[in-house]
């Protein structure tokens, strides 16, 4: 620990003489991306958030970003580099940046850090994430109503709580809309790998599914769905180029308003470490246009579901719900608490297959 203090002192001394000394300079905002800004999904939407910050504040901000940053030792260096060069606030936009963010934040107590989708905070580290599972409920409903084979497929990335929440939410609402529905889940262990994602989509389609859902970031599953004539949903980004079919709707991550709010907090000195988890209501999760490939009545039901979630009248995890092993989870009318959702490591009743571990 003594060593770290020494390093912190060295770094802090350098910073004090550096760009940080003058409070009137533009606020420097940094972003660390896990993929390329042109991925058309996750990183693309974070970059849209950066552009929204620029559009909002103009000359009062200076933005920097680094793309394709591996999660691990390289992330720590990228973060240190940005902090050394005078960034005032840095957004780290992937789960794997959690420990690096905490480590670097210790060395730079005057820099604000914002880590997406993690659970470790500090005085100068906030966390933020979106309730994507609210959007999954709407998709699940459409999927359940649209499937003719009664089989829907789900391309899952990593078995972490965020992904498992999405699978459960999708299944619960598909099942409500269509009691005969079955869901196939394929794990691809990547966030972004067009070849693997396409293979997974094809395997699902060969297996007789006619709705493709994805929790990965490329548009490759959309292309596979288009070829096979089945439907799909845009993920993280609207993926509008596949409208009106196969892409019949989408979940859009809308980070811009949050980023603008946090940068403004740095400017006026009101920034505090917080944990933000917003959904459809505050606009962090948007449902992309439901196209005419969906019958009008299904579209109306889906929009009603969306609006009731947005208004806070309905939570996608409302009992009665059992866990996969048949044990009781939520009683009639009971709503899951955020703690359980944040660490969700089980399937709900009816999903076949196991969570890999």
């Amino acid at each position: 620990m003594k060593k770290r203090t020494f390093l912190a002192a060295t770094l802090a001394a350098t910073m004090a003489t550096g760009a940080f000394a003058d409070g009137h300079e533009p606020v420097k905002v940094g972003f660390i991306y896990v993929g390329p800004i042109g991925d058309g999904g996750w990183t693309y939407e974070h970059h849209q958030g950066l552009l929204a910050v620029e559009a909002e504040f103009g000359d009062k901000v200076e933005t920097v970003y680094q793309e394709n940053v591996p999660e691990g030792a390289d992330a720590e260096r990228a973060l240190t580099q940005m902090a050394l060069q005078g960034a005032d606030i840095i957004f780290t936009t992937s789960f794997g940046y959690m420990d690096p963010t905490i480590n670097v934040a210790q060395k730079f107590p005057d820099v604000k850090f914002e880590h997406a989708t993690g659970y470790k905070r500090a005085d100068n580290v906030s966390t933020y994430s979106a309730r994507f599972y609210e959007g999954r409920a709407v998709q699940g409903h459409i999927a359940g109503r649209m499937t003719k084979t009664n089989k829907i497929g789900y391309i899952a990335s990593f078995p972490i709580p965020e992904v498992i929440r999405g699978i459960n939410s999708t299944y619960i609402h598909a099942k409500k809309a269509n009691p005969d529905v079955e869901m196939n889940v394929i794990w691809v262990y990547t966030w972004f790998d067009p070849a693997k994602e396409a293979d997974a989509a094809k395997a699902l389609i060969d297996n007789g599914i006619d709705v493709v859902l994805q929790h990965t970031d490329s548009t490759a599953p959309q292309a596979a769905a288009a070829e096979a004539g089945v439907i799909s949903f845009g993920q993280a980004s609207d993926m509008a180029e596949y409208k009106p079919a196969p892409r019949v709707s989408s979940i859009i991550d809308n980070w811009g308003p949050y980023y603008i709010q946090r940068v403004r907090a740095v400017m006026d000195g009101s920034w505090e470490s917080v944990d933000t988890w917003d959904g459809i209501g505050p606009g962090m999760v948007e449902i992309g246009e439901i196209t005419d490939a969906v019958p009008a009545d299904v579209k109306a039901e889906a929009e009603a579901l969306r609006d009731s979630i947005a208004a806070g009248e309905y939570s996608p995890f409302t009992g009665p719900l059992n866990k996969q092993d048949g044990s009781a989870w939520l009683a009639e009318g009971e709503v899951a608490d955020d703690g359980t959702l944040a660490g969700m490591g089980f399937y709900v009743e009816g999903i076949t297959g196991e969570i890999p571990n």
């Binding site: 920097v64 999660e71 691990g72 990228a78 940005m82 078995p159």
Partner: protein, 361 residues
């Protein structure tokens, strides 16, 4: 009219000059690329090659150079021995992963016992052993069944990646990690942490091991009979056979050493800079080390310099992304040019450029 004329013997001068020429050519061609992207090429080249060593924040970057170069040098030294003997271990990335898993598993098995004198050395042994075992698979398959070690070692990388995912999700997953993948952080476990030896210098045990490997390889190749056998097997396989070199033993030895060193690199990385076993723990050191080995002419000192140079393009390239807004792809293209020019100029080692028509004597 330009012709290439084969040299009677490879040129010693060009053999050492081509890396330097390749670096210069990369700077020029890269500069043109950066200019097309609307950046000041001189500024970009300065950011990549100058700032990390002598710029404003060099006190931080110099240490990072060692952190990045350490595993590259350690792996490349091992690979160079095999490459010299015509034994092609392309799967160092997989051996690196297995070393990390073995080493981390040993460390985590002792958690939370504090006994650094015991645990850290055991982890080092386990790390080297993990890489060694993984390299023995292509080794034994080649000596027993005459399979191609290039293919087998390469394909085993993908197997190792699957094992890594399994380790991160299940076997070594942090029980206090709220269900998220990834092991405990070894850096926060004093008995297992591969800490910086002098704070801020970047020098950790893995870098020390890399320097030791350079010295040993140098002595081995210049003074030891095994080094002579390796060189002979590569340059004149038939002569080596007559000289009594056992080719099977040599295959196992070269693969074993390179696997062991790659495993060590993985162990030092997972216990140090990376800190934990995670699904995407490996970032390609095992493949980049192949470039480093050739850039360094398969010579220990050359590899030392090449590893530092490669690390510089990474560190400087990242700096150029963050400060000048260059896309990541431009930096990757820039690094690719380095290998391209190296191979292109290598022609000059074996051939002479002649102008004018061929004169028949």
């Amino acid at each position: 009219m330009i012709r290439l004329e084969k040299r009677p013997t490879p040129s010693q001068v060009w053999s050492w000059a081509t890396p330097l020429v390749a670096v210069l050519a990369t700077m020029v061609a890269g500069g043109v690329l950066f200019a097309f992207l609307g950046k000041n090429p001189v500024e970009v080249i300065r950011t990549i090659f100058w700032d990390p060593i002598l710029g404003e924040f060099a006190f931080y970057y110099r240490g990072q150079l060692l952190v990045k170069a350490g595993p590259l040098i350690l792996i490349a030294i091992g690979l160079s021995l095999g490459f010299r003997a015509g034994i092609w271990n392309i799967g160092a990335e997989g051996q690196y992963i297995m070393g990390a898993i073995f080493g981390a598993a040993v460390g985590l098995a002792f958690y939370p016992m504090e006994a650094r004198w015991l645990i850290f050395p055991l982890m080092i042994i386990a790390g080297a052993f993990g890489g060694f075992i993984w390299a023995m698979i292509p080794g034994i398959l080649r000596t027993r069944f005459n399979t191609n070690e290039i293919l087998v070692s390469l394909l085993l990388v993908y197997v190792a990646e699957q094992i890594l995912a399994w380790a991160a999700l299940s076997a070594l997953r942090n029980p206090e990690g709220a269900g998220f993948p990834g092991s405990r952080n070894l850096k926060q476990y004093a008995s297992a942490a591969n800490e910086e030896l002098i704070v801020g210098w970047g020098m950790h045990w893995g870098v020390v091991a890399a320097f030791i490997a350079v010295i040993f390889a140098y002595i081995l190749l210049s003074r030891h009979i095994l080094g002579l056998n390796i060189r002979l097997a590569g340059e004149a396989p038939r002569a080596a056979r007559f000289a009594g070199v056992n080719p099977e033993r040599l295959v196992l030895l070269c693969l074993g050493i390179s696997g062991g060193l790659a495993g060590l690199a993985g162990l030092f990385e997972v216990a140090g800079p990376a800190g934990q076993i995670s699904i995407d723990f490996n970032v390609g050191y095992g493949f980049t080390a192949i470039i480093v080995a050739f850039l360094g002419r398969l010579h220990p000192i050359g590899i030392l310099l090449a590893g530092l140079l490669m690390a510089l393009t990474y560190i400087g390239g990242e700096a150029a992304q963050a400060t000048l807004g260059l896309p990541a792809a431009a930096i990757q293209a820039f690094q690719g040019m380095l290998l391209f020019f190296l191979l292109a100029f290598d022609v000059l080692t074996n051939y002479r450029v002649r102008f004018g028509r061929e004169v028949k004597a």
